[in-house]
Symmetry: C2
């Protein structure tokens, strides 16, 4: 059943204008980040896939100076959790908006002293649909998929997974109890995102984290 007609052509053209404007701002963000030597990762997933826990564990171990911009509809819970790591954190509260846009990131970055920051994480709103369409000026997109969410998410949310440079299978400590079928999930990922680099880890237990740290370290080496 085709459903695009429901929205009508006017909305589609408005969205296109928004996306064009967003792409321009994203381009300016990217230029600024390059000039300052900041490597930027846009971190995306469903609600509750473990983005904040992964960033907490990452910031605690990382020796390079890092900062975080975090988006949520409401609360500054995640910013408070992340501030404990000592990294500068800016919370964006989007109200009812389902994604971050490049302009919000630009304004949030104006509140951080970016000089000396090597790595910027942008923790997007928890949503596997809308944030996929908005470039924020990042270097890479990291999409998390918790093993508790089932194996078919790449097939059901293809746009998000197609735009991923990195996919993190998170909460692997729950694979057994959740009855997670790893090979089916990896096969679905290969179908939708054949070039994405895949990490399997649990930020809670630490399993699989060394490969993730090595990957980031390598990226930071490239940035310098």
């Amino acid at each position: 059943m085709a459903t695009d007609q429901v929205s009508g052509p006017r909305v589609i053209s408005v969205s296109r204008n928004l996306l064009v404007k967003n792409a321009e701002v994203a381009g300016r963000n990217r230029e600024l980040f390059r000039r300052l030597g900041v490597f930027v990762a846009n971190v995306l997933s469903s609600p509750g896939s473990g983005k904040t826990t992964l960033l907490q564990a990452t910031l605690a171990r990382l020796r390079a100076k890092a900062a975080v911009v975090v988006g949520d509809l409401a609360t500054d819970n995640d910013a408070r959790r992340l501030s404990g790591t000592g990294a500068p954190v800016v919370q964006i509260t989007t109200g009812n908006l389902c994604h971050l846009e490049a302009d919000m990131v630009s304004r949030a970055c104006a509140e951080i002293e970016l000089a000396g920051v090597r790595l910027l994480f942008i923790e997007n709103v928890g949503n596997l649909v809308c944030p996929a369409s908005y470039d924020l000026g990042e270097d890479i997109r990291v999409v998390l998929m918790a093993v508790t969410e089932g194996e078919d998410k790449p097939l059901k949310y293809p746009k998000m997974f197609k735009t991923a440079d990195v996919v993190v299978l998170s909460k692997t400590d729950l694979s057994g109890p959740a009855g997670f079928e790893r090979s089916a999930a990896l096969e679905n990922l290969r179908q939708v995102a054949p070039r994405a680099k895949v990490f399997e880890l649990s930020a809670r237990t630490g399993e699989g984290m060394p490969a993730w740290f090595a990957f980031l370290q390598d990226k930071l080496g490239v940035v310098t």
Copy 2:
């Protein structure tokens, strides 16, 4: 940080028009459902919270005639899973649209012989943000929240939880391994959705399912 300005007034007015139109169609859906004596539940959650598994288990046990309309960006996986129960199932594939609208449900219902159907489940797109704004003509909203997603989701996605008549804490068999803090989650729910009826269950193990069945049976009694 206020972010509503980013979208600009034009988009907001288009959205309002869309919502007004949607409300009209939802009203007509509701009228049709009442006339036919169909009780309708709009089932919402993050991706991978267990909507389809809950519906599979429910349809397998329910004696009343039921039907399902299921929305996904891509694939008919869920429709195929649900068809095994013998209930009529219509899949809506939304492409990149992040929610179901009343008009889609109306068109999907035209493909089902609704006479004799007592209970219609509408399984919405997996998304805790956008579907909250769209009335589909349902009698109740059932919002799932898996214990593996953490305790703070009601606070972080308040609009969705505020509009819930029923909240299902799903995957309770994983509470222990996930370190789920039940009392914190219930307290967050009480804050945001004080009147929502809460069920705690695992569709996989069957724990907590009898109370859910009794609730539905009671609602069907009301419909007759």
